[in-house]
């Protein structure tokens, strides 16, 4: 209860602004900007969602159905774009399509990608792994007998796909898709560089250009409500569509194809990877080769170490809190506790910078009281105790990425049959005992998996880190940002590549686990 409250405070702080109302520029925004924000967010959201589903489902289907050369390699390479921060993907694509860019020189014409469809393209390419991961897990869990029976009857794997496998996988596609949608609505860096006015850029516009934090938080609150609706629909949808039997699973046999078709699959995989991974990282490597001598120094590696250790620690704590939340809601029948724990997932939908305010403002008030009390007790000059320490940053990360840890864990728990817990307690085992001895072994893969996802996300996180990080701490993402805001895009490449490289390690594990 205390934990859920702690997580919910910053979010409630933001939501409260729905009732406090916007600032004085609201009419100005309503007249000139709001329709634009809605329209852009809508079309970018739909376009990138479509692209990510198309790529994610295709990739998931081929690696879990057919046997072809390099299949294993492809099956984890497909996840790697997840490690590329969206704004870095944006810079890389802008570079590729620049006047002297690689693609421009290749095709001889300059295609301008810095517009809404270009933004949708890079968002789709950067985020499809969410769909891929959830769908692949579903495909490989699908009752092999059903699929084999169907393919025997229809003699066609494509019919099996459209008539049986895909409909069965829809809950998984929806789960991955909702994550994509949240990330899209949250993106600020790429939308800003491409100057596509979305809801998220609007929040920053009203906050900083118009100097009205109230209007900004009001917009963020509206956005949160929108996201809440998405989460709710997805959940209802999943509940309605749940018909895969949880216990089903003999390993599916992979279908062997004619050599020509195998080549086709390899080519298809290569094309997906070309756009989502090879081209953007290629651009980054080119830039890095030019700038590494300026960028790489002792400080760089110390920053890298800080990045990794903070992300690891925060990811671990985040999963721990998620686990506690889920367990407590299971044990506690009170509807209120349930409602609040649902709320904690909202953090993922709120822009990092707004979360930062939500964390910062209430904790600062507490800190001021603490400081005064402490100084009265000790006779020393008052000093802020929590503020400007690593604690606040980690707290912020936990709130921001709770959903990423929560969702896979929750679905992991669905594998734990209710009867197991009930029989355990009938046999006199305590709740904690049941947890350690029965539930933990079942969910341990979801546990590690969600920690890794959170880790990758924290490595990439920028706006929240900027506001909440202590002086002496720096992260790779912040480093990349510093170069980018100095218009030294090429210098971003080294930190960006390191973020991607570090992100690859958990992705290899992730690939093993989700299989």
């Amino acid at each position: 209860m205390a934990i859920s409250a702690l997580i919910a405070i910053p979010i409630l702080f933001v939501l409260a602004h729905l009732f406090l109302g916007p600032g004085e520029s609201w009419e100005n925004i309503l007249d000139h900007l709001l329709p634009l924000y809605l329209w852009n967010s809508l079309r970018v959201g739909l376009a990138s969602l479509t692209l990510s589903i198309l790529l994610g489902v295709t990739a998931a289907w081929i690696v879990s159905t057919y046997e072809f050369p390099l299949r294993k390699l492809f099956s984890w390479l497909f996840i790697v774009p997840l490690a590329i921060p969206v704004y870095i993907m944006g810079y890389a694509y802008a570079g590729l399509f620049d006047y002297s860019g690689f693609i421009t020189s290749l095709i001889g014409v300059r295609v301008d990608v810095m517009n809404w469809w270009g933004l949708s393209l890079i968002l789709g390419l950067a985020l499809y792994p969410y769909v891929y991961l959830s769908t692949r897990a579903m495909f490989s869990l699908q009752n092999s007998r059903i699929l084999e029976a169907t393919s025997l009857l229809t003699k066609s794997y494509s019919k099996t796909f459209f008539k049986v496998a895909l409909p069965l996988a829809i809950p998984a596609v929806a789960a991955g898709g909702s994550l994509v949608l949240m990330e899209v609505l949250n993106d600020y860096g790429a939308a800003k560089y491409f100057n596509v006015k979305t809801f998220s850029t609007g929040i920053f516009h009203s906050w900083f250009s118009l100097e009205e934090p109230n209007t900004a938080i009001f917009l963020a609150a509206i956005l949160s409500v929108l996201i809440f609706v998405i989460i709710y629909c997805e959940k209802k949808f999943r509940e309605r569509k749940r018909y895969a039997s949880p216990m089903a699973s003999s390993v599916r046999a992979l279908q062997r194809l004619k050599p020509l078709n195998q080549v086709g699959l390899v080519l298809l995989s290569l094309i997906i990877l070309l756009f989502a991974l090879i081209l953007p990282t290629g651009q980054l490597i080119l830039w890095a080769m030019r700038t590494y001598s300026v960028v790489l120094d002792y400080e760089f590696f110390s920053i890298a170490w800080q990045s990794v250790s903070i992300s690891l620690l925060s990811a671990f704590l985040c999963v721990l809190v998620a686990l506690a939340l889920i367990s407590f809601t299971k044990w506690n029948r009170s509807k209120w506790v349930n409602k609040i724990s649902k709320l904690t997932v909202l953090g993922y939908a709120i822009p990092g910078a707004v979360i930062a305010i939500g964390v910062f403002s209430p904790s600062l008030e507490l800190d001021k009281i603490l400081a005064k009390t402490w100084s009265q007790l000790s006779g020393q000059a008052p000093a802020l105790l929590i503020n400007g320490t690593i604690l606040l940053l980690i707290y912020g990360y936990i709130i921001r990425f709770m959903a990423v840890a929560y969702a896979p864990l929750e679905s992991g728990f669905t594998k734990v049959h209710k009867s197991l817990g009930e029989s355990a307690s009938l046999l006199g085992s305590s709740k904690l005992q049941t947890f350690y001895q029965i539930e933990l072994p079942i969910i341990k893969y979801s546990l590690v998996g969600s920690a890794l996802l959170v880790f990758v996300d924290i490595m990439k996180e920028l706006p929240l880190t900027l506001i909440l990080k202590p002086y002496s701490v720096n992260t790779l993402a912040v480093r990349a940002y510093e170069y980018a805001s100095d218009e030294r895009i090429a210098e971003c490449a080294c930190p960006a590549l390191l973020i991607i490289a570090v992100g690859c390690i958990p992705i290899i594990f992730l690939n093993r686990i989700i299989k």
Binding site: Y99, Y193, N195, E211, Q380, G388, L466, I467, Y471, V478
Partner: protein
């Protein structure tokens, strides 16, 4: 599970050693420290900060973020804020900081001599450190200097489809707009912006360098950009960018009318600065002749200190006649400028 808990404890301990907040105390130790909140993240600044540390033995702690975020942070931290100095990249934000009451008055003879009155707050709450001009940049193979005259001229139909300029979200554009409002009238400024939007060669996007590239490649005939970006392109490690930088020329608009729009990057001492003396020393150092010359050579900005010489490259761009407008006005009109852009449909 227990192992994991132990692991997390170890990590936490390891981190707490690198994550300590600078403490605010009155002990003698703290006189060796200075906490700088800065929006600038240039290499030149790092060099100067290191030089200051070496010269005075005062350790400089830096928080790097956007000015708005830093201001919010200082405001909320209130009396307990560890911030000593706030550095921004435009006058508008300095005025905003003063109006929020997060800066304090500084009495320093050195600062008053080094920085002409025009570039500092009349109550000495903030001080300009460097100047940058928002100018026209063109490809001399396509255009001639005679083709250009004023910002106002860009609203003329003859420029249809030829102007490259970035988003109105950008503070440099906002200050330019504030200058136009100050020199004319808000209705005129709105009409001007509407016509410039019609004359743009594309929807605003990218950064200043992207605008310069568009003008080089002929997508635009003129790019509106800050002077130092051209300098940075010339000094770039990217051959292509350096080539473009060297090929392009600068035109200083409004030379014969109100003068070219100039903005400053500057700093102020925070109201509750725990290390006020160090903060003043720091500003004095940054306004000194040698530091000013570093800004000019390493970061291609114009020095505010009249004693400091402007780098050769900047001199080669030609003489700049500045708009004499009081820079504080840019801050006061900022919000109006943003609303005017919004109403004119300047994305």
């Amino acid at each position: 599970m227990k192992h994991l808990l132990n692991l997390s404890l170890i990590l936490l301990l390891a981190l707490s050693s690198c994550g300590d907040a600078p403490e605010k105390s009155n002990s003698t130790e703290s006189s060796e420290e200075l906490n700088v909140y800065t929006h600038r993240h240039y290499e030149s600044d790092k060099v100067l900060f290191a030089e200051f540390e070496k010269e005075t033995g005062i350790k400089v702690n830096v928080v790097n973020a956007k000015a708005d975020e830093l201001m919010m942070k200082i405001e909320q931290e209130g009396e307990l804020s560890p911030a000593d100095v706030l550095i921004t990249v435009d006058a508008g934000r300095l005025v905003r900081a003063k109006n929020k009451g997060i800066l304090q008055r500084v009495k320093s003879k050195i600062l008053n001599t080094n920085i002409p009155a025009k570039y500092r707050d009349e109550e000495n709450n903030w001080f300009g450190l460097t100047k940058r001009a928002r100018v026209f940049i063109y490809n001399p193979e396509v255009m001639k200097a005679e083709d250009f005259s004023t910002y106002r001229d860009l609203a003329d139909q003859k420029w249809k489809g030829t102007i490259a300029v970035r988003s109105s979200e950008n503070i440099y554009n906002q200050s330019l707009m504030a200058g136009i409002i100050a020199n004319s009238h808000v209705d005129f400024a709105k009409a001007w912006a509407e016509n410039v939007v019609k004359n743009m060669c594309r929807a605003p996007k990218g950064n200043d360098r992207d605008q310069i590239k568009a003008a080089y490649h002929g997508d635009a005939k003129v790019a509106i950009a800050n002077t130092y970006y051209l300098g940075k392109m010339i000094g770039s490690s990217d051959e292509e960018e350096a080539k473009i930088g060297k090929a392009m020329k600068i035109f200083f608009p409004n030379t014969e009318t109100t003068g070219t729009h100039v903005n400053i990057s500057g700093a102020g001492v925070c109201k509750y600065a725990p290390n006020k003396d160090n903060a003043v020393k720091f500003l004095e150092f940054l306004s000194s002749k040698s530091a000013q010359e570093t800004f000019s050579t390493a970061n291609y900005e114009y020095p505010v200190n009249p004693e400091a010489s402007t780098s050769m490259l900047l001199l080669s761009w030609g003489e700049m006649i500045e708009d004499p407008l009081n820079l504080a006005i840019l801050g006061e009109l900022n919000k109006q400028a943003v609303q005017t852009f919004d109403a004119a449909g300047w994305k």
